[in-house]
């Protein structure tokens, strides 16, 4: 069962409370999203580290239940 956009956004904000999260449903099928996450927690981190923070927030769903989530991350 693919994840709903609101669940993705909620999980990210639970782990990164000060993040701004925007989710776009790329294909309208509830399975291909792009998440843009802006958070001070990313300051000074490499893109890999920033994305790992988001993947950790999604608690291991990335690559499994969540097949395709394109990520754009940056500090404000």
């Amino acid at each position: 069962m693919p994840m709903a956009a609101d669940d993705i956004s909620r999980l990210i904000r639970e782990a990164l409370p000060d993040a701004q999260v925007e989710i776009e449903d790329l294909a309208g099928d509830g399975d291909h999203y792009r998440a843009t996450v802006v958070s001070p927690a990313f300051a000074g981190l490499s893109r890999v580290k920033q994305h790992q923070l988001v993947y950790n927030a999604l608690g291991g769903r990335m690559g499994g239940e969540l097949h395709a989530l394109a990520l754009i991350t940056r500090a404000p």
């Binding site: 994305h51 291991g60 990335m62 394109a70």
Partner: protein, 110 residues
């Protein structure tokens, strides 16, 4: 569970080639859009790279995710360092950071 021999063999592969792409399928026959995109970026830049088809070995397919603490395939490595998956490689290519990184590491790239 990924055993140490798999992790060792991954380390050996990553450290014995300048550029390594763990992907689903092969550069000629990619089996996933994300893998295909990264291999085409490298091809477009004329970068020589060693590709590993993770679909041929489940241990490597799971082991690479443990090795880099990264949940998806493809995964690009340059001089032993994990650079990123499809999103990051695409973003770095578009901003010119990928070319700068390859130049910095002394790797031929157009």
């Amino acid at each position: 569970m990924t055993d140490t021999t798999t992790l060792e063999s991954i380390r050996n592969t990553v450290e014995s080639h300048d550029v390594v792409l763990f992907m689903k399928g092969t550069p000629l026959f990619p089996q996933c859009g994300f893998s295909s995109l990264v291999s085409r970026v490298l091809q477009h830049m004329g970068v020589e790279y060693h590709s590993v088809n993770v679909l041929e070995d489940m241990d490597v397919r799971e082991g690479i995710k443990v090795y880099s603490d990264w949940p998806t395939i493809p995964q690009l490595y340059v001089k032993g360092e994990f650079i990123g998956g499809c999103d990051i490689v695409k973003e770095m290519f578009e901003t010119g950071e990928l070319k700068a990184l390859l130049d910095d590491k002394g790797i031929e790239a157009a």
